[in-house]
């Protein structure tokens, strides 16, 4: 696994000392909030509805048991015993005292963690497929490239004050599990006909108030050109992106207003100028970084597990969990496990300190000491021998984390909403909880099949509602919470922005409305193999509108 080097260590330690000084000066009255705000945002500290909030990076979602135990420690010592895993593979703590945050950051630095590039108008921490380095369908591990981008972007003097934040995601498989088409830059790692590695490059995707699916501007970029090409994109954006209006400042607006062809031409032109310069990646460098991410040496192919087959036949609940919550691994006899943070009726993405410690123990004992955070607000054990699945399941069940609902209707993404967020118009979490309870019965969920519900408490779309198969957006109407439904969105390789179905629903009505949509799907699907999304795309809005409003 990646270890950051001495330079990174000094950088992070110096940053903690610097921030400690800044917090000291803020608390003693030397710095005003206006002076302090940009400084705290450079260190992942927000002021939310009830308290400060600390956002800690989990780069590419990858951590080991020591790091997860540290997150548990932070939750206990500086917070109220829990944390919230987010769609950007970060974790947020909701209750830290400003005066104690420097201590928390120092504790995090002792396990090579930090809050740098988690906020502000910089290149944010790069996200990657949560099954990276494990998935059977991947061409190569995307994380080394995410790390190369991080090293390049962390201290890049030209890109410290961008017009707006900038998000990059990388996937290494055809199946897009990193939502690359709704990022400022999306990279799809693939091989060309000669077996060389490179990227399809997408730019200008994003959510927020103006959702856009990214445009592909290059079908194949050789891997050694990753940085020069990224620099060319950033440079065109930095020069031409709008700084006059924060709502129009993202690269998606530039691409939309200027046209993808013209932007692509400008990028190629700038790239021609710099592609043979210092940013060309030497082959040895990619290999060197790849070694940090190498699969554990003890991960060896195994025959299919006989014990697993016996247990599955014996225990239908375990069988259901194995079916939904495991993913094929590229090493025979192994799988990746999804640990659902979506127990029925729970707050999506929340985990208590005890749960974090327990997952860390399980990972250390049974799963090669690796844990991932997924952009769907779950945890992942990327490397698990089939023989160990039963023990892992039992361990997870003991702490309430063995819900067999990965990818099902109750595996809901929800942002903090009006329960925590200062920008919110409506609550997200209680809606998620009530939907989860309504569809709680596992047989019903399995009958419904793959269905992604995503909920945001305002148009910033942190809960990805634009790309939910069913997206729910909270708005405020005459002082009341109201919920607008959109259908047909997807953040995967078949990316699309959902379409608003009609007028919104009150808090009392919203769960019934979702159930009506699901029932309509069940009644109209061609077979159990036709998913909600496929059925919606075949049928269009008509039958769903009619079911909700009585008119097509």
């Amino acid at each position: 696994m990646y270890r950051y080097d001495e330079f990174d260590h000094e950088f992070v330690t110096a940053r903690v000392a610097q921030f400690r000084d800044q917090v000291g000066r803020r608390v003693s009255g030397e710095l005003t909030e206006d002076q302090f705000k940009p400084l705290r945002l450079m260190n992942g500290v927000y002021l939310q509805l009830h308290a400060y909030m600390l956002r800690v990076a989990v780069p590419y979602g990858t951590m080991n048991s020591r790091q997860l135990r540290m997150l548990a420690h932070i939750a206990r010592k500086y917070d109220r015993g829990y944390g919230h895993f987010t769609t950007r593979q970060n974790i947020q703590f909701n209750w830290p005292k400003l005066s104690e945050i420097p201590d928390a950051l120092a504790d995090l630095a002792s396990v090579e963690m930090h809050a740098i590039q988690t906020s502000g108008n910089c290149i944010r921490n790069v996200t990657a497929d949560h099954f990276a380095g494990a998935a059977a369908d991947e061409v190569a591990d995307p994380r080394p490239y995410a790390e190369i981008l991080r090293q390049w972007s962390s201290l890049h003097p030209e890109f410290v004050f961008l017009p707006r934040k900038f998000k990059v995601a990388v996937t290494g498989a055809e199946r897009d599990r990193a939502a690359i088409q709704v990022h400022d830059i999306g990279l799809h790692l693939k091989k060309d006909e000669n077996g060389r590695l490179g990227f399809a490059v997408y730019i200008g995707g994003g959510q927020g108030r103006t959702p856009m699916i990214a445009k592909k501007i290059r079908d194949f970029l050789p891997e050694e050109d990753l940085l020069s090409y990224s620099e060319a994109i950033l440079r065109v954006y930095n020069l031409n992106g709008r700084r006059d209006n924060k709502y129009k400042a993202r690269i998606k607006i530039l691409v939309h207003e200027t046209g993808a062809d013209e932007i692509s031409r400008q990028v190629e032109e700038e790239w021609e100028r710099i592609r043979h310069g210092a940013l060309k990646l030497p082959q040895g460098e990619v290999e060197r970084i790849r070694e940090y991410f190498a699969a554990p040496a003890t991960l060896k192919a195994l025959p299919p597990s006989a014990a697993l087959a016996v247990e599955r036949a014996r225990d239908p609940e375990f069988d259901a969990w194995v079916e939904r919550n495991t993913h094929p691994h590229h090493v025979a006899g192994h799988v990746s496990v999804t640990i659902s943070l979506k127990a029925i009726g729970s707050t999506p993405g929340d985990a208590t300190a005890e749960q974090m410690d327990a997952v860390a123990d399980i990972a250390e004992r049974l799963a090669f000491d690796e844990i991932r955070v997924s952009h769907e607000q779950n945890l992942i054990l990327p490397h698990v021998a089939e023989d160990d699945l039963r023990a892992i399941y039992d361990g997870l069940a003991a702490i309430g984390l063995a819900t067999a609902n990965a990818g099902l209707v109750t595996d809901i993404i929800a942002c903090p909403g009006l329960d925590y967020c200062a920008l919110a118009n409506a609550r997200s979490i209680p809606v998620a909880q009530r939907i989860s309870q309504r569809f709680g019965a596992i047989e019903r969920q399995r009958d419904i099949g793959d269905l992604k519900i995503k909920i945001s408490g305002c148009i910033n779309a942190c809960g990805h509602h634009h790309v939910g198969h069913i997206g729910i957006l909270g708005v405020e109407k005459k002082g009341e919470e109201f919920y607008q439904i959109s259908l047909g969105g997807s953040g995967d390789e078949d990316a699309a922005i959902g379409e608003i179905i009609g007028r919104g629903f009150s808090t009392e009505e919203i769960v019934d409305a979702v159930e009506t949509l699901v029932d309509t799907y069940i009644a109209k699907r061609e077979s159990r193999d036709e998913t909600f999304l496929a059925a919606y795309r075949r049928l269009g809005q008509g039958p769903f509108k009619e079911a909700l409003y009585g008119t097509p």
């Binding site: 803020r26 608390v27 400003l98 729970s346």
Partner: protein, 107 residues
């Protein structure tokens, strides 16, 4: 008719506070000074000075009604949630415990 309160976040711990009759700040909504419109500008100026003095962050006025016991109740849901000092949902260990009770009742 609605009255006004002034609220902010405490600088050092970030928690929600209300301007009191004595001109200080309290974590308790019940301690909040109910401010008649005519006195609002003076009170806001005082609150801004407290922001400048690095005691609280970003004070602002909110609308409230006063209940039968004389306790102010914010009008907007957002401010009700802030005044309650935490989310409307259980969290952490309490959330787990609450769900365990529900499961036992159901099962």
């Amino acid at each position: 008719m609605t009255d006004k309160l002034i609220t902010a976040n405490h600088l050092a711990d970030g928690l929600v506070v209300f301007l009191t009759a004595a001109g200080g700040w309290s974590y308790r909504l019940a301690d909040a000074r109910v401010i008649p419109d005519a006195e609002l500008d003076v009170a806001l100026a005082h609150a801004k000075a407290q922001h400048e003095a690095q005691i609280v962050v970003d004070p602002y006025e909110i609308e409230a009604t006063v209940d039968a016991d004389g306790v102010p109740v914010p009008v907007r849901l957002r401010e009700k949630i802030r005044a309650a000092g935490g989310p409307t949902v259980a969290y952490g260990e309490a959330e787990l415990a609450g769900r365990a009770v529900l499961l036992n009742q159901a099962g």
